[in-house]
Symmetry: C2
Subunit: 369 residues, 2 copies
């Protein structure tokens, strides 16, 4: 059943998307401002379930690409995503029935809403990551056989670059990075054009609604003095993800950051407190939180979400804002089954991020070990 | 009057194009091999004068972009330029009436012939540089108001990238470099689409025929034991360029090369002999030979051509092949008037290459000073 996303939804959506961002994906703040501006001009956006898209109708993914922090300095015109979608649809000679998200986590939860509001089309409640990930091929769209190209990149100057046909989605990632860097380090892209029939096969359904519900539950828990972390765990489970596990509670005592291979890498060290006193949690970061290890033992890993929440109010803290002294709760949210097939784990399991072990689900026993 | 370019023309064309390359533009060898292969399959290519293109018919420029030396290691499929032209024509919704050269100097003299042979269309005897230059905006096409985009880049893998609309031709240069680097450092491009009417306004006419005539004259002089340098000078003057001047004769005693800002920069030092004994010539290189200075005094500068010829046989020596001990004749060939308007000198005069003086024509008095 279709619903509407209106202005009051943007704040909880931003919070939920930041949690799905698992520490990365960019702060949804600038995106939320852009979505607010667009929706003030156009009214609410219709959110469709994947089964509401006719088989032969075309859906195009819209997102930002590049370093999200650049958005604070290189201000978007606000029309880029819509321009990219429009140009891509014209390029392939189809009508855009709806927009979907390439990435539900972080700032990219907002970009489809902006483009949809401006183009007067609905958004489909689905994405290709189920969270945030650093690569354009880290998409169920790719994993289950869709081509990222043709794709259209747009800059704030009105520049339009079409990656028309590339040998594969790895070449797409490679070319897209080069184009994005030359467009100033951040750009907007319309990609993975596909029909409703294909979308249903390859997308992770319900992830925008999930982000919205997580955000709403968290805000409601805050205002009713309930436990916001419990509320997030319950909302994730209702949305088709696993019920969240409290992995650790403590104080951030060290944050190490470095940039290599175009990724923000780092390690966060949390000194345990309360039931975790005497233990240490290490969180490895590659743009997103990739792995949580308790006293040296990995206990939660990609593609499951490792989320760092402010212990006081449950709000997510992105890796770029984390620093010494924060009291945090580290939460593990198991990703849904479509993200954990053998094909999916080959793209975004621990080995894809350089670890020499296979994916394993987090367990209560490990957490309490 | 239209003519034909056939297999026996490719060898003199390559020599003449290397002279127009002014030390740069890449060795036409690989391009000539590709053109031979294409023309063996298809027969000769028709060469049209600019006034043979109907006003409303479309001409597309075809060339290689990136470091020409990469062609020796990253072997082209041979179909890239034709694929790029075809895709661009389809993109803008026109029929390709003919191909023209973006750059008559060096390897890019050959690329239009390959695409034209494969597509079964003529080549227009014109280009946008009148020689070789290192930038995609260093084109009379750009100087006199044409847009380089939409442009299509093709790789040997069949990758196609469309730069659809960019803010200006400097953004085009910037994006094109990024795309080319990601396509492996060398790619093929179809760009500056324009009608016959526009082409006549903005192109340098007759430059392919000029290269052909220079090459033929040089080979004929060699076989008749005449002076090949004289033959080159006379052919240039017949082709609408100034009559060449012998700037210097001597031995290469030092070659300094470095790569900075993506350009092959360097300095060549020639110790004078014969009438130039006791003098020294310095040639400054930025991909092409930019400036010739005699005993510290500049005597020939861009956009005029500074060509280094083997003193024994008159054949051009590209900067990458120059080394200690070569006996050389340095020749200055004045470029035609269309390349020396104020608008043109702003793009490729000495100041555009970092010198703090204006363009001046080479004179016999300077040469003998």
């Amino acid at each position: 059943m279709s619903r509407r996303i209106d202005l009051p939804d943007l704040s909880p959506l931003a919070i939920g998307a930041a949690i799905l961002g698992a520490g990365g994906g960019g702060d949804p703040y600038v995106g939320r401002m852009m979505a607010e501006k667009a929706m003030r001009a156009t009214g609410p956006v219709t959110l469709l379930n994947v089964d509401e898209v006719p088989d032969g109708s075309w859906v195009i993914a819209a997102s930002g690409v590049g370093a999200p922090t650049i958005l604070y300095e290189k201000i978007p015109s606000g029309r880029e995503a819509a321009a990219a979608v429009q140009r891509l649809a014209r390029h392939i000679g189809v009508e855009t029935f709806a927009i979907c998200a390439a990435e539900a986590g972080g700032v990219n939860s907002m970009i489809p809403l902006i483009a949809a509001a401006q183009l007067g089309v609905p958004v489909v409640d689905a994405d290709g990551m189920g969270r945030a990930f650093p690569g354009l091929f880290m998409e169920t769209f790719h994993i289950y056989g869709m081509s990222g190209t043709p794709a259209c990149f747009a800059s704030e100057h009105g520049d339009l670059v079409l990656l028309d046909r590339l040998r594969d989605n790895y070449a797409y990632e490679w070319l897209a990075r080069g184009v994005t860097m030359r467009l100033g380090g951040h750009a907007f892209v319309a990609d993975y054009p596909m029909t409703g029939k294909d979308l249903r096969q390859v997308a992770i359904p319900g992830t925008l609604q999930l982000a919205l519900e997580i955000g709403r539950s968290l805000l409601e828990a805050q205002s009713s003095h309930a436990d916001p972390v419990e509320a997030v765990c319950a909302a994730a489970a209702r949305g088709g993800y696993g019920s969240g596990l409290r992995l650790f509670t403590g104080k951030v005592v060290d944050v190490l950051r470095r940039t290599s291979d175009g990724l923000a890498r780092g390690t966060i060290t949390v000194q345990g407190s309360g039931p975790d006193a005497g233990s240490v949690m290490r969180i490895d970061v590659q743009n997103e939180n990739i792995l949580a290890a308790r006293d040296g033992l990995p206990i939660c890993t990609v593609p499951d979400l490792v989320c760092v929440l402010d212990a006081a109010n449950g709000l997510p803290i992105s890796t770029e804002r984390l620093r010494y002294g924060y009291r945090v709760t580290v939460l593990g949210i198991p990703a849904p089954a479509i993200m954990k097939t053998a094909a999916a784990l080959a793209i975004w399991g621990p080995r894809a991020f350089g670890y020499d072990f296979d994916y394993f689900p987090p367990t209560q026993a490990d957490v309490q070990a």
